[in-house]
Assembly symmetry: C2
Homo-oligomer: 212 residues x 2
Amino acid sequence: MAKSKGRVSDAVMRRMPKYYRYLKEMRDDGIERISSRELSDKMGLTASQIRQDFNSFGGFGQQGYGYNVNELYEEIQKILGLDKTYNCIVIGAGNLGQALTNYSGFEREGFHVMALFDINPRLIGMSIRDIPILDIEDIEGFLDQHRVDIAAICAPKDAAQSIADDLIKYGVRGIWNFAPTDVTSSSEVVIENVHLSDNLHTISFRMGGYSL
Amino acid sequence: MAKSKGRVSDAVMRRMPKYYRYLKEMRDDGIERISSRELSDKMGLTASQIRQDFNSFGGFGQQGYGYNVNELYEEIQKILGLDKTYNCIVIGAGNLGQALTNYSGFEREGFHVMALFDINPRLIGMSIRDIPILDIEDIEGFLDQHRVDIAAICAPKDAAQSIADDLIKYGVRGIWNFAPTDVTSSSEVVIENVHLSDNLHTISFRMGGYSL
């Protein structure tokens, strides 16, 4: 990253969104304060693991008091960059692309979907909660005229890498890839490859008798 | 698990599907043999990490030869339980439920979707690649008459836990939950909670300057 704030381990990086989720739920339930013991019980982590995680960001909480839920929630919200807004597009307006676009939670969190793009003439011209499905042929012009921060790729496997390369060339800095292949880049962009089948394989694996 | 074959760490559990993916791709590309060095470069893991992972399952590969891609692929396929077939249902026939049902890769891997269930009368009676959308009211009878191994929950957050409880009561042993909440159970079933928003939050987090 160009303006690196610091390196955190992959494990910490995966846990931060989980803290955020739990704190949001507690806040919504009107819980004002939580001891580190209660938080660790809820999250299935040790209290020292939690302390260590938070220390990566300067540390929160107060000896003997525990955590103020709302303050901690807001701190982690900032760390996750959820105090900002992001212009997003979705490449591929099939079921998955539509599912992501329809999920109103993303909009509430500041992820604003501007448009979907597809190759299918039957989809082009339609819209999903007032968000237009545009012709993938027109994406270059769109990216010239709009700042797009994050693109979700819900396209076929064989097209994913070249789509990502084009997006990155036009300044998209975040790629959320759902095509069943690992998209990569040498540029300083953020890429998350989501492999839903990996989750399913973990289920069949564990059903075969392996346990954590 | 009732018939525990052994405990493996969460990290190993997450890596096994990834090995499977890479080996499948190599096999499809006609690669017959790979050195542990090449495999580690491809996967972004150290050779000793790979050896350690494989040793959890008795170890594969041969000093000086490396790995026979097809043999290793088939071994890991078995470990992941992908040499078996699974009867699956999908609860919630919205975009995400339809996306999962439409993904033909699952069928090829032995995950056979028997039916979707929904509460929406406009969806009930329709079908997705010949798989019927049934009334959620009829699920009890369906589970009485069919062996269902895995259920994907693509229902609203507030309904997810009670749906899971019912499914488990009727003998479903694997729950693949996409509702944005952690479904839990005291029974010996396998539950994978998928939080797509966690991935998105990891992107905004890393775009803010944190790096691995």
